[in-house]
């Protein structure tokens, strides 16, 4: 097996809110191989965005470990953190709020280069040009402001900014969910091309299962801060094992109008992640829940690299 670029072990991130602790990420472990894409899917509030931001050190983890290229970087500070951030970048969801409205395209892309103190003035301009070409931004837009750009172009600028310092690892936080389908496809193609050219490792956070299947090599499914299933992408779609994954997959509307359609009915809605009870969080909505589900769940490896956090996984499949 290739060396993992990112590995997290038992990662936890809790937020203190008025009524207690919000368990945004609760004991999540996985590995992402170099040059591969890990898709993280789940519904809103499942902690997938927080997970990404915790890995790139925008949030301080409450517990657990983060390894980057085999090194434990959980607690890095100061100079080391600055260095680390150059290797780990993020592309945001909302192309309307992720760009400073008073910065031109050029200024936005130049800022990370400038802050790295690695380029002379002349080199800066050349490097910006290179990045703009790389991300398919017209030269004539160099001095345009964000409000003059459409969502797709803005997202390209965001990607160029993230790639400026040649990171190894990029968290893509719902980078295409705010875009229309044709623009979304253009950006997805760009991201896949860039991965090949720059040998990037992605963590691709999204709620859109067809997008995640398209772009990811491996997939994590999250529910209320917990990892419920992780597996190679193809395997997950062919043989989903966790009851939640099954329900989720059956809920996606497909464009194949002749496919037989059967949906697993899920009752109720997501419960609160504040001061949750121990055990499987999905149990409250799960049609197969038993008493054992109220105890903490372990990951079972059902086939190579296919882990499921469900105590009844064997009997149900």
């Amino acid at each position: 097996m290739a060396e993992p670029c990112i590995e997290v072990k038992n990662l936890e991130k809790y937020f203190t809110v008025g009524k207690g602790k919000l368990h945004a990420v609760d004991g999540v472990s996985f590995k992402i191989e170099k040059g591969k894409t890990m898709g993280v899917v789940g519904e809103s509030g499942c902690g997938k965005s927080t997970l990404g931001r915790t890995i790139i050190h925008q949030h301080e983890p409450t517990g657990g470990q983060i390894f980057f290229n085999g090194k434990d970087v959980t607690k890095v500070k100061g100079r080391a953190l600055r260095d680390l951030r150059e290797h780990m970048q993020i592309v945001f969801q909302d192309p309307y709020s992720s760009l400073n409205p008073r910065y031109t395209v050029e200024a936005t892309i130049r800022e990370p280069l400038l802050l790295s103190h690695r380029y002379s003035k002349g080199e800066l301009a050349d490097e910006v040009t290179r990045l703009m070409q790389l991300c398919g931004i017209d030269e004539r837009l160099r001095l345009a402001y964000p409000h003059e750009l459409d969502g797709g172009r803005r997202q390209r600028v965001g990607i160029a900014r993230a790639l400026a310092l040649h990171p190894d690892f990029v968290v893509c936080d719902e980078p295409v969910s705010a875009l229309d389908v044709s623009i979304q496809a253009q950006v997805l193609n760009l991201l896949m091309d860039l991965q090949e050219q720059e040998n990037l490792t992605y963590m691709f956070v999204t709620h859109d299962l067809s997008v995640v299947r398209h772009i990811s090599h491996d997939i994590c499914v999250m529910y209320l801060g917990q990892l419920v299933e992780t597996s190679p992408s193809k395997e997950l779609f062919e043989r989903p094992m966790h009851p939640y994954t099954k329900a989720l997959l059956s809920a996606i509307p497909t464009t194949d109008i002749h496919a037989p359609y059967q949906r697993i009915q899920l009752k109720g809605e997501i419960t609160s992640p504040i001061n949750p009870k121990p055990g499987c969080r999905f149990a409250a909505r799960c049609p197969y829940a038993v008493d054992r589900c109220r105890e903490p769940q372990e990951l079972h490896e059902m086939s190579p690299n296919h882990f499921v956090a469900c105590c009844r996984v064997e009997e149900l499949n």
Partner: protein, 292 residues
Amino acid sequence: MAEKKKAPATAKKKNQTLEIIKRLARNKVAMAAGIVFVLLFVMAIFAPLLEPYDYTLMNGKLAFAKPSLEHPFGCDRLGRDLMSRIIRGSRFSLGMGLLGVLCSLAAASVLGSVAGFFGQVADNIVMRLLDVIQAIPGILLTMTISTVLGRGFFNTVLALSIGGIPGNTRMLRAMILAIRNSEYVEAASSINCSKARIIAKHILPNAFAPVLVGAAMGIGGTIGQASMLSFVGLGIQPPDPEWGALISDGRNYIATYPHLIVFPGLMIGIVSLCACLLADGLRDATDPKLKK
């Protein structure tokens, strides 16, 4: 809903400030108000050259003279030319308005930034302090501070600006808090932008548009307050021809010689109106909702 896609044809250096001015220029009313506003300041600067008479020159024969061709605004009780006094007085009124707003904004930016950035404790201290200050109604606060500081130009500017601090600080803090949570600030920190740089380059410039609007609006109000201070016996006092002082000076003759009051009052009204119109225009021109 119809999202517009404007793409500049050429890579021309475009400045946002310039763009705002351009948008402002399309608003004829605001533009006219802006021009009058600027002209008034020009008048204040070149007051000595523009006064038809010496503003201190007394002439017993002309006491209470009604407006005429020689003295368009008439003369005051000591026979001084009212127009000259109003022109000279613009230095006091406009100066206090402008300086008062600027000082208040400067102090508010510091306080607002401190409250918005440096954690709970600093925020709490600043906000509780503002609670206390704001429990005193605005004019009363300005009057109290003015009482303590005493009369005179700079003391009054100080009193006026302290009176404006709480409101401005709250507005700035709210803006800063909103921007602090935006994704571009998060993006900046992920590319190793220092805290100081984030504040200076990413947050303050984006927080300032509404502050600018508030400032334009504030100039009119501040001039009004300054004149009110003079009127109740604080601020600038006669014989200095601050507009409020002129009104105060003439208030006893309102029944017989109303021109002593009408003209300085109109001047205050015109300045405030222009400031107000300009502020409205600026708000529309800087509104990102309209820009989109």
